[in-house]
């Protein structure tokens, strides 16, 4: 029986049968996008940004919405069934295949979440480059999905892991977001997970272009996270010695 197909099918079933996941994925974007937009509506126009604050706020809300949902999904995928995962690996299911099915599921969920966020965003702003805007939202989600998975593999407790992902995403979106409330932002913010996805998204949304350097940075970020998740997951699923038939 095809392990990857079976694994992805069961992961998707598990996701859909967790009502909180579905509610979060569908409702959170509306709340976050409009909430963030209204929170920035009263701010003055920024000297370095052409976009009006309410639109910039909505964009930040969208990127935060995608990131936090994808991050929490990544975390839950790693934590919720760790003991069962170890049993599955003991039966002979390769850890890398198991991880691949988890990440593939996460990728699919991230695309759906990004689509919902894009849809909510599109109701209020017309992006200059719609396809690029959507793709960059997906990239932001993937970065956080992998980050959530890494946190889940390192810190296998749902409550503590959720706190880490939520606070990280909030600080990240806030500091990466050109907010006048976050004055004197240090240079290391450029290395935050959402900084370059936000740059890509903002450029695609308001100017219809993108910078290759930002794209390369995001690709590198994803690659590093993928390697780290693979290594950590492999260590946590390691069994001692096999059975020789």
């Amino acid at each position: 029986m095809n392990r990857i197909q079976t694994g992805i099918r069961t992961n998707v079933s598990t996701f859909l049968r967790t009502p909180l996941n579905v509610v979060l994925a569908l409702l959170l974007p509306v709340v976050v996008i409009e909430g963030w937009g209204q929170a920035m509506a009263g701010l003055p126009t920024l000297p370095t940004v052409e976009a009006i604050p309410i639109d910039l706020g909505r964009l930040l809300g969208a990127i935060f919405g995608v990131a936090i949902i994808a991050g929490l999904m990544g975390l839950a995928q790693m934590i919720s069934a760790r003991a069962a995962d170890r049993r599955l690996v003991q039966t002979g299911y390769p850890p890398r295949t198991l991880l691949a099915t988890r990440l593939a599921t996460l990728g699919g969920v991230t695309v759906v979440v990004a689509a919902v966020n894009y849809g909510v965003l599109w109701l209020t702003i017309s992006p200059e480059a719609p396809v690029l805007t959507f793709v960059f939202l997906v990239l932001a989600g993937l970065v956080y999905a992998f980050l959530g998975a890494l946190v889940g593999a390192l810190l296998p407790r749902l409550f503590e892991g959720s706190l880490v992902v939520v606070f990280l995403a909030m600080m990240d979106a806030f500091l990466s977001g050109d907010s006048p409330l976050a004055a004197d932002i240090p240079e290391f913010v450029e290395y935050f997970p959402l900084y370059h996805p936000k740059e890509l998204l903002q450029e695609a949304m308001f100017q219809g272009t993108y910078t290759t350097g930002d794209l390369g940075f995001v690709a590198g970020y994803l690659l590093v996270l993928l390697v780290l998740v693979t290594v950590v997951f492999g260590v946590t699923m390691r069994t001692s010695g096999g059975w020789s038939a």
Partner: protein, 243 residues
């Protein structure tokens, strides 16, 4: 004084499927002000084909630790474990995916064992009929009672017809009828040459066991009594299987 078992003292003809040699395991951490707990300090054990072996011992004596090391899901600090054949592991807590149905659970774990779709379906039908959970095949694991969950737990360990079956208190939650079916099943498996190893607390079960190992003070002692009766039990089981 009773001596711990050694891996070379037994002289029976059955093939040794699992051999543990001088296993040591200590739980602890490298953090300051934390306590290290030595659990196994030189455990030896042999499991032979066709035997029903009980592992007994007090709470916290290291029975589950020993079984996890034998299965391979826990690494020992030192010592060696030799394993031959395939293993089925039934942990004490049903380690299953709560949101999957029983059928999906069989498919997922069956794919782990490398079984074909037909083999998985056949195994599912066989155990659903034997352990009487046919009506729950489309139920999610988290919708099952503790006893039914334990039936699935056991079936997953058995579905690929392993050479060695490792069971950590497998009958928790079983009703009396299922408990008796379980023992019939264990007898059938042993008669077919499967080694059945189980952690057991119940004194009355000891007459059903071919060999009893007690985990005590970090060592494993062979405390099998009435050897001749045990041989008679095994002989009777084989006669029943032949019939």
């Amino acid at each position: 004084m009773e001596a711990p078992t050694t891996s070379t003292t037994e002289a029976t003809t059955s093939e040794v499927l699992v051999r543990a040699d001088e296993i040591e395991k200590t739980y602890g951490s490298n953090l300051p002000f934390t306590r290290s707990v030595p659990v196994l300090t030189g455990a030896n054990l042999e499991i032979r084909a066709g035997e029903i072996v009980g592992i007994v011992g007090g709470n916290g004596s290291g029975k589950s630790t020993l079984m996890n090391i034998l299965v391979g899901v826990l690494k020992q600090d030192s010592g060696a474990v030799e394993r031959t054949g395939t293993v089925g592991w039934c942990p004490q807590e049903p380690l299953l995916y709560d949101r999957l149905t029983v059928t999906e659970t069989f498919r997922l774990f069956g794919s782990g064992y490398g079984m074909t779709a037909e083999e998985i379906d056949e195994a599912k039908r066989r155990f659903a009929s034997k352990l009487d959970f046919e009506q729950y095949l489309d139920y999610r694991i988290d919708q099952l009672s503790g006893g039914n969950r334990q039936k699935i737990n056991l079936s997953i360990a058995l579905m690929h017809d392993p050479d060695v079956l490792m069971l950590d208190e497998p009958y928790t939650g079983f009703d009396w009828e299922t408990y008796l079916i379980f023992w019939d099943l264990a007898d059938e498996l042993a008669a077919d040459g499967t080694a059945v190893v189980m952690i057991s607390h119940l004194i009355e079960e000891q007459s059903r066991l071919d060999r009893i190992y007690e985990v005590r003070d970090g060592h494993v002692y062979d405390v099998t009594e009435r050897e001749s009766e045990t041989e008679a039990t095994t002989g009777e089981r084989r006669r029943k299987a032949d019939e």
